[in-house]
């Protein structure tokens, strides 16, 4: 059994801001990433939209591992992805330096239909072009399970 963090500690995550920063999707990275999806490279230097998972995270100056730790995950196995919401205002492109910010926008303790406790945490990342235009927004919602898996 793992000790469950205090509910107040979970609630206190709201408003946590990541350092922020920038990210450039290299051609090789987009090529490999697109290959993983089973698709051919997209034309005109377009980045495959699947980049909207890791680019905002890494560009905001954090990592999947750090996000696990932030919510006091019991282990790397204990996170259940609940939803990903990707809004695309401008297609992302290779070799463009995007400015990225991110924060925890919601966090609370919940109980599932089986009566099991988990912490529900929502992260939001904004991806801006070099001109400052909002190009994309990624909202990640994870469940930090507690003694469930």
């Amino acid at each position: 059994m793992h000790a469950i963090p205090a509910e107040e500690a979970t609630k206190a995550l709201v408003g946590h801001e990541f350092p922020g920063g920038s990210y450039k999707i290299a051609h090789w990275e987009n090529f490999l990433l697109t290959g993983c999806t089973g698709a051919e490279p997209l034309p005109n230097g377009l980045a495959h939209p699947v980049a909207l998972f890791h680019v905002p995270i890494m560009g905001a100056g954090t990592s999947i591992a750090e996000m696990f730790e932030l919510g006091q995950a019991e282990s790397q196995l204990s996170i259940i992805p609940e939803s990903y919401d990707w809004e695309i205002f401008q297609s992302l492109k290779e070799e463009v330096e995007y400015d990225i910010s991110g924060a925890v926008v919601a966090a609370e303790r919940r109980t599932n239909a089986q009566g099991q406790t988990y912490d529900w945490v929502q992260f939001c990342f904004d991806v801006r072009s070099p001109e400052g235009t909002l190009s994309a927004r990624s909202t990640i919602t994870w469940q930090y399970t507690r003694n469930m898996l």
Binding site: C36, A39, H48, Q76, P81, Y84
Partner: protein, 148 residues
């Protein structure tokens, strides 16, 4: 294709042409994990998956975004590589290596005028025996001539 013909083709209830991943690849999961800097061993360690109380056996679990990417590929093949405005995805079941999965979608609402129509779509990833693995909604810009 004329606009009138297009209106007939892209109506509520229209089924988007399917996109098939014949066999989800453990190797691609490993590459993906490296690019994502994803430390979760479920994507590359069969023993870790086998130890879970989920009776999945010695398999690896596909990254959520990778399953979602099959649906993106379906939408790209349908309406082009810049057609997606929004994707909201949930993950009711895991996707395992070696599985054959099919990305599917259906228009639920059409909006916008002649200059740009948008389709709201239900989207999902399906397995022949296990049913729906991922499901969500997409907002897609309609190219009246489809994507060539």
């Amino acid at each position: 294709m004329s606009t009138r013909e297009a209106d007939t083709a892209y109506e509520v209830g229209y089924s988007i042409p399917e996109w098939v991943m014949e066999s989800v690849s453990a190797e691609r999961m490993r590459t993906m994990a490296a690019i994502l800097r994803d430390p979760n061993p479920l994507h590359w360690d069969r023993e870790a998956v086998d130890r879970l109380p989920l009776a999945l056996g010695k398999r690896t679990i596909n990254q959520g975004p990778l399953g979602l990417s099959y649906i993106i590929n379906m939408l790209h093949d349908w309406m082009g590589p810049e057609c997606i405005q929004r994707l909201v995805m949930t993950f009711p079941q895991v996707v395992l290596d070696g599985e054959r999965v099919i990305a599917k979608g259906r228009i639920t609402k059409l909006q916008g005028g002649n200059s740009q129509r948008l389709a709201e779509c239900d989207i999902w990833l399906e397995h022949a025996e296990r049913g729906v693995l991922l499901k969500g909604q997409a907002t897609v810009r309609i190219n009246e001539d489809g994507y060539q």
